[in-house]
Structure formats: structure tokens, C-alpha cells
Amino acid sequence: MGKRALLTLEDGSIYEGYSFGAKDTTYGEVVFNTSMSGYQEMLTDPSYAGQILVLTYPLIGNYGVNDSYFESKQVQVRGLVVREHCPVPSHWQSTGSLSEFLQTNGVPGISGVDSRALTRRLRSTGVMMGIMTSEMTPEETLQELKGLPRYDSTDFVKQVAIDKKYQWGLTSDDAALLHHIVIVDMGLKYNIARILTQLGCLVTVVPCTMAVEDILNLKPDGIVLSPGPGDPALLDYITKTVRKLAQRKPVMGICLGHQMIGTAFGARTFKLKFGHRGGNHPVRDLASGRVYITTQNHGYAVDADNLKGGLEVSQINLNDGTVEGLRHRELPVISIQYHSEGSPGPQDNVYLFDRFLKIVKERSTIV
């Protein structure tokens, strides 16, 4: 057992547990994920920047961590809350325990918390700010919480996105490659680039602050707008870029990328009470009627009521009816609120990358 630790929420509720991982005090928006596997992928997902992650699955860390399951270059969550963590992992690829991993990455964890009771509170009250510590008294945490910067008013994309463009994996002179895809990085999950590369694309990742002309000068056949953290309403500078790109090239938006396509065509976004985070969210495709099981990780959604500019809803969430997919009536623009790349989660929606590349191919033969 580690040292006693606390998780205090904005509404004054206090959860006691034991410290593991790094020993620091941390704060952030407290959110929950219901996936049963894939904790390393979640921890390294840039969309969790600024957040304390609660896992509802009660036993985390059984298969350890390894070098190839990173979704970005580092751990992105501010803190991790679990019911129980496994100190002795069992897996042939494991290179260490979850606790050691968090410690190496300077991220604190708290175990011994009834993470399902905590989740029920977050579902009824809504997500809120929280503080995790093994150094402060309950009174001190409550005091500290009052003065912390708000999640909703911070531009986390600026913190996680790259500032220099780079080539994914292969070199640009590989003539055998099918298409050149430029990913606009707002907090890229590596698996998107991995899948596009496997599908035969040359992938260039560029900063989301790059000028439209500079992006077009790279001569992309298609543009992918990456997922990313935080409130899309703070990202006017990206909305402007997306608006112009959508008129010129085939564009696919994923998660935050989907929200940016929405805002580029005049839609508004709103904050969900407790977000969608998990590996089993059912989504219905309105054209085919088919239901897909999807991985999700988002706290904001596109408002379906004020879509304009030729954009229409293509898919909806079956749990709460919110928008899960958009498409444009004339332009080669598609987007999904969920994660077709899975990681963690089902690989059922990888077909969407094939669909996008088909659009890219059709488009490139016309021009």
C-alpha cells in the first residue's frame, strides 16, 4: 500500500485512497472511461490533456506496459484514478508495471477509490474540476480548488500539438505510395497515422497553426483533421484554416477534427454533461440504418440544430441522440465524432479510412 491520498471534487466530495505512480499533487477536469482494456493507449491519448482520468474497470495494469502502445510521445493525463492497480503484471511483452510507468512519466495515481461510485457522481452532477494529492489536508484541497484555472477556458491544443511538420515513417521519395495525406495535428493519436501508412499513404503531420497556403504547397491529396483536447469554441484560428481547406481538398475530421468541420460550416458546439468515453458506444448510420460499435473520447458535441452551409448529419449516437458523423452534400468532406482508429477499442470502423481514401482517389482522377 502506498501513502494515503485524496481526490477532492469541486462539489466538495472527497474520495480517499492510496498514492501510486508519481507522488505529486495534481488537478484537472475529472472524467471517466468505461473501457475494459487499453489503459496505456488512454493514458497517452492527447485528448486527455488537462484531465484526471477515472477508469470504471476495477482492476487495471494486469498486462503491464510496453514500448509500442503509445498514442503520443508521452503520458497525457494529469492523474489516474483506479479501484485497484496490479503491481505484478503478466504479459510476454510487458516492460514494467503501471505504477512504474506513471512514476517515470511524473504522473500521480490514486488507487483504492470506488471508481464506479465516483462515476455515478460524475454522471449525476456532471464532470467537474478535481485535485489529487498525498500532501494536502482535505481543507487545503477545497481551498486550492477555488483558485485553479478552469478546464473550459484553457487552450490545450496549444500544449499538445507539434510546432514543426514531420513525415510519418517513410520518406517522401517512395513513389509506390498511393496518396499523400496531410494530418493537421491538434493532438494526434499515432494509430491514425499508422493505419493510413498501412493503407499505402505517405503521411505528413503538420502543426494546426500552419498557414493554408503552406499546407496546400505540400500538395496533399487529402487532409485529415486529428482529434485533440479541450473546448472547440476556443479554436477560431483552426476553424478559419479548416473552412478554406474544405473548399480545396477532400477532408476527413476525427473527434475534435469533426467538431472543427462543424464550426467551419457555421455550426455551434456545446459541452456534454459527462462526455462519451469508452469502447462500446453504439452509433447508427442514418443512410444504411446499420449500427456500429465505436470508441469515443469527447466532452463536447456539434449542435445538430444549427448546421448550415451544405453540411448534414450522417450518424447519431444511440445513447443520447447526439451528432456522431457529418457529411457535406457537395464537397468531399466527411467527419466522425468517434475514433475509427480504435486504440483502445474496436477496429470495426477502420473501413472509414478506406472510404475516405476512395473519395481522395476519385477526386484526384477528376482534377
Binding site: E41, Y69, Q347
Partner: protein, 265 residues
């Protein structure tokens, strides 16, 4: 298919490996659902100590041995227009195949409900199942279906011991076993051949000590499917399913492995 008004449900029989207590539960729920739809439900079960044979679960209950002859007689007597064999575990599935092959279902105009005959055969007959798995591009252990001890010995020489022997048409594995030596192989194949309905056994590379993972998938005719859960046996391969504890979900698979197996399922 015309409207179904009377359905014969094959019950779970005695509680054994391959048809454990969950089939009583499933069968009971099925009877209740059928009656809710206004369908006359006829139940046959050899085991009176089950919930499904309680008063008020089915409309008509036969406590009779679960054999093709008996069921044929019940069909003749009751003239149901549907047969639901998928809730009685192994016995129910085998009986459906027997009744269909004997022409009883056609003779009395009984529709086989639930899983189609083809699919039951694919799941039950090891060689058909192996072909199905190969057709969808998934790997299988090296194996062959043999009809004699001589054939089994020849196979052992080409792929090596230990080998596992599985008779067809017994999901729980009655009459099968692991052979570490040629003597054991001889004995196990002989026993397998005699307990197999079709007098054939599958002999395959033994996966002793491997992890054992299961997925529960439900799929309809329109190809909508959901993965209900996956499970991991606490004991490795080699400890019989009936002697082992299984937990849902899997405990020692990474997400990549979990999803790879889920996609395959």
C-alpha cells in the same frame, strides 16, 4: 415463412459439461418470450428438476428421453410448426441435425427456428468448422480428421506429439483426450471413434499451456452483430473447461490482442 403459432422447444436435459445450468435459464426465458408472443409452447425435457419444466413456463410439457425417436413422436402428436433446438445445449443441437437428416422436419412441415441447420453443422462438425475458419483467413492448429487408428499414427509422425483427439458432435469433449505417446494416441483415438456420432475424430497439434480465450458474439441474418463479452480461462489450455474457472472480461490481454481476437470473432 408463414406465421408460427406452435413451437417445440428442446430442453436442456441433465446438467453436464456442454449443457450446464445456463441452458435451463436460456430455455426458460425462451418459453416465456414465446408465450408472450401468443405462441403455444411445447417443451420436451428429460430432466424434471429444471425451472423450465415448472408449471406455467411452457403450455405443454413432455418429460421424456431426449432421443430422435421420442421427439419424432411428439412432433407427430403435437404438429408444431416450429422447432427451437438452440436452447438445449449439445443434445438439442444434435437432435435437430438428426431430425432434419431423417426427414422428420420436412415430413411434418416443421420449420427449424433460430440457427440454420448449415450453421449448426459448421459449428459442430470439426472439419467444416476448420474450413470455415480457413476461409475467413484465420490460423488454425495443424490437424486432420481421421477415421482409424492407423491414420492417426501417420499424422502423429508428420506433425509430432503431443496431439489432442476430439470426436465430432460433442462440444464438451466427451471421449477425447491428449496423447503424449503413441500408446496413448492409440487408446484415445479408439475411445474417440466409438463415442463419435459420425465415427470420426479430429487429431490436432496440442496447445497445452496456451491461454484460453472465448468471445460471445450474437449475429443476426442481416449481419448486425454485437460482442457480448470475452472471457479468459484462469487455467491454461490442458485443464478441461469443465474443471476450470472462466472470468469475463479477459484479464491478461492487451487491447491490441483483445481487439484482434474480437475482430476475428
Amino acid at each position: 415463412m408463414s406465421k408460427i403459432s406452435k413451437v417445440l422447444v428442446i430442453g436442456s436435459g441433465p446438467i453436464i459439461i456442454g449443457q450446464a445450468a445456463e441452458f435451463d435459464y436460456a430455455g426458460t426465458q425462451a418459453c416465456k418470450s414465446l408465450r408472450e408472443e401468443g405462441i403455444t409452447t411445447v417443451l420436451v425435457n428429460s430432466n424434471p428438476a429444471t425451472i423450465m419444466t415448472d408449471e406455467g413456463i411452457a403450455d405443454i410439457v413432455y418429460i421424456e428421453p431426449l432421443t430422435a425417436d421420442v421427439i419424432a413422436r411428439i412432433i407427430k402428436q403435437e404438429r408444431p410448426d416450429g422447432l427451437l433446438p438452440t436452447l438445449g445445449g449439445q443434445t438439442g443441437l444434435n437432435l435437430a441435425v438428426e431430425l432434419a437428416d431423417a426427414g422428420i422436419l420436412d415430413k411434418y412441415g416443421v420449420n427449424l427456428l433460430g440457427t440454420p441447420l448449415e450453421t449448426i453443422k459448421k459449428a459442430e462438425e470439426r472439419s467444416l468448422f476448420k474450413q470455415l475458419i480457413l476461409d475467413i483467413g484465420e490460423p488454425v492448429p495443424k490437424s486432420a480428421t481421421v477415421h482409424s487408428i492407423k491414420e492417426a499414427k501417420e499424422l502423429a509422425e508428420s506433425i509430432g506429439l503431443p496431439l489432442i483427439v476430439r470426436p465430432s458432435y460433442t462440444l464438451g469433449g466427451t471421449g477425447g483426450g491428449i496423447a503424449h505417446t503413441m500408446e496413448e494416441l492409440e487408446y484415445t483415438v479408439a475411445s474417440g471413434l466409438s463415442s463419435s456420432l459420425s465415427h470420426e475424430v479430429l487429431v490436432e497439434k496440442c496447445l497445452l499451456g496456451w491461454k484460453e480465450i472465448e468471445y460471445e458474439v450474437m449475429r443476426d441474418a442481416a449481419d448486425n452483430c454485437i460482442t457480448v463479452c470475452n472471457m479468459e480461462n484462469i487455467d491454461p489450455m490442458g485443464v478441461h473447461t469443465g474443471d476450470s474457472i472462466v472470468v469475463a472480461p479477459s484479464q491478461t490481454l492487451t487491447d491490441k490482442e483483445y481487439q484482434m481476437l474480437r475482430s476475428a470473432s
